[in-house]
Subunit: 278 residues, 2 copies
DNA sequence: AGCTCTTATGAATCATTGA
DNA sequence: GTCAATGATTCATAAGAGC
């Protein structure tokens, strides 16, 4: 079985128009934040963020299936001592476009860098806004019960041998007990608060979010062979995760150097896979 | 040294008008959520929530000192598959009133209400919106480093001896590393994500939030002998914490049965203190 | 005392029923 | 129809009991 990966070099305001209507199951994206990535899209000013994004969200609504979901990873910046309001204004405007604002997940960035400013602490969370075209969207809640189990296993792997071999019945409380709980029930429903550390890749390109973030939503909202779209591909995290998970994917990126990087990574990956098959 | 506790039975829409201007250092409150507490304020409908709250926030702005802070604990409900927008509309309207929207803290409710629905998970977080009159508000960031230490100690208590004594250098990552971090630095700045469980009191009145929530903000934004106001006093958590912390406090409550309960609790407490002094 | 087990319960949502 | 009331769902805590 093969899945399609379609990466497109260009401005998503143009490229989205070329995609067919009702063809995408999940849109997962982290658009350039206001005043960030000034080299792309001209560094959108906070005051014009909403007006810049609305034509894009309208096209996204067109290409999304009725049963599909749009997850928007975004956080307003603080400027002159205040939080900007462009994100909440965007929510209101997107509702005017006909989007349903279904949920707001919180991504708690557990290991965000220390830092303190005169009037604020470090910002350790981002919004994951869920929008839908219809109340009857696809959702596979059981699927994300699995990563909870995997998460427990991952934590166990990182524990020292003393932890693993100690007499659980003797400890009985605290972490010991919790770990045994995780082991015994591999099924637990998550909440709308997602705890993930930001990834620390010492590569040339740093991903805006860890792979587990798109992975979680791809599991929750799509099946194998569905189609995932990221109109602001960046370093391609969403696309690569979708591919690993046997979902078709479409990525659009305006910057040639990011596009080329993703292109190369994908080529390497395919080569590697072919070599293994020999 | 004595601090004043002033609890008022009445509708805060009226009672606030009687308070002097520029007299309060911190407002910490959790207003009745839309369609909740129907016996008070007539159970405000989501559609009219903003128009109901705006006259109140205007009075709050009047009584707050220039250097003061307003912390609003609120969360929009989900209805018919969508999140309501009255909270974000309120933010925009309060900015029109002249408030600065300084920050949005996230309160992660670790033990939120159980339940799983066809297209939604448990809601495990609430907003703590920070508003100010001026950029030059009082903030004592060092003060809240202390509860972080206490929190670490509480966690350490629950750890087994093997955890405490094992070779940290061998583990190097995961829990072991985190624990050693906690041990080595008793001073750490928090982030804008607050992790607290809701209280499970088997009393007649249940607090909407745990005492540590107002405690954290009182430490952060006030000094001893400052004044704290809660215009929706409820079971009086804010008032009682402020009193313990030697801050003057004012609480307004519309329901006689809550008012009487707080009255009684305060009387008991004062009696107890007098006995100790003898 | 301290540890372990049991039990009650909370700012919730949604589908269904009944007026 | 539309609106209000009811039942089902089902988990992290703390209080309380028992050893």
């Amino acid at each position: 079985m093969e899945v399609a990966v379609d990466i497109i070099l260009g401005d998503c305001r143009e490229e989205l128009k070329k995609l067919p209507s009702d063809s995408v199951d999940l849109i997962f994206t982290s658009p350039p934040y206001a005043d960030r990535r000034k080299d792309t899209y001209g560094g959108i000013s906070p005051d014009r963020y909403v007006e810049w994004f609305l034509p894009i969200s309208l096209e996204l609504k067109r290409v999304l299936k009725e049963s599909g979901t749009f997850i928007l990873n975004i956080k307003e910046k603080a400027e002159n001592g205040q939080r900007h309001t462009y994100v909440i204004e965007l929510i209101l405007q997107m509702k005017q476009q006909g989007w349903l604002w279904t949920e707001e997940f919180v991504w708690h960035k557990k290991n965000s860098y220390p830092g303190k400013w005169p009037n604020r602490f470090r910002d350790a969370w981002e919004r994951l806004l869920q929008f839908n075209k219809s109340r009857r969207f696809k959702m596979f809640q059981e699927e994300v019960m699995v990563p909870m189990g995997q998460w427990a296993e991952a934590r166990l792997k990182r524990l020292s041998d003393t932890d693993k071999t100690r007499d659980v019945s003797k400890v009985g409380s605290g972490f010991g007990k919790n770990i045994s709980n995780w082991l015994q029930r591999d099924m637990a429903y998550p909440t709308n608060v997602i705890h993930l550390a930001t990834e620390c890749n010492n590569k040339n390109h740093s991903a805006a979010f860890p792979e587990s973030l798109p992975e979680w939503f791809i599991k929750l909202f799509t099946e194998v062979n569905d189609t995932v779209l990221d109109p602001f591909m960046g370093s391609g995290t969403t696309i690569k995760v979708a591919r690993k998970m046997m979902r078709n994917s479409i990525g659009i990126e305006i910057l040639p150097r990011y596009y080329e990087m993703v292109r190369e990574d994908l080529d390497k990956d395919i080569t590697y896979q072919n070599l293994r098959l020999l």
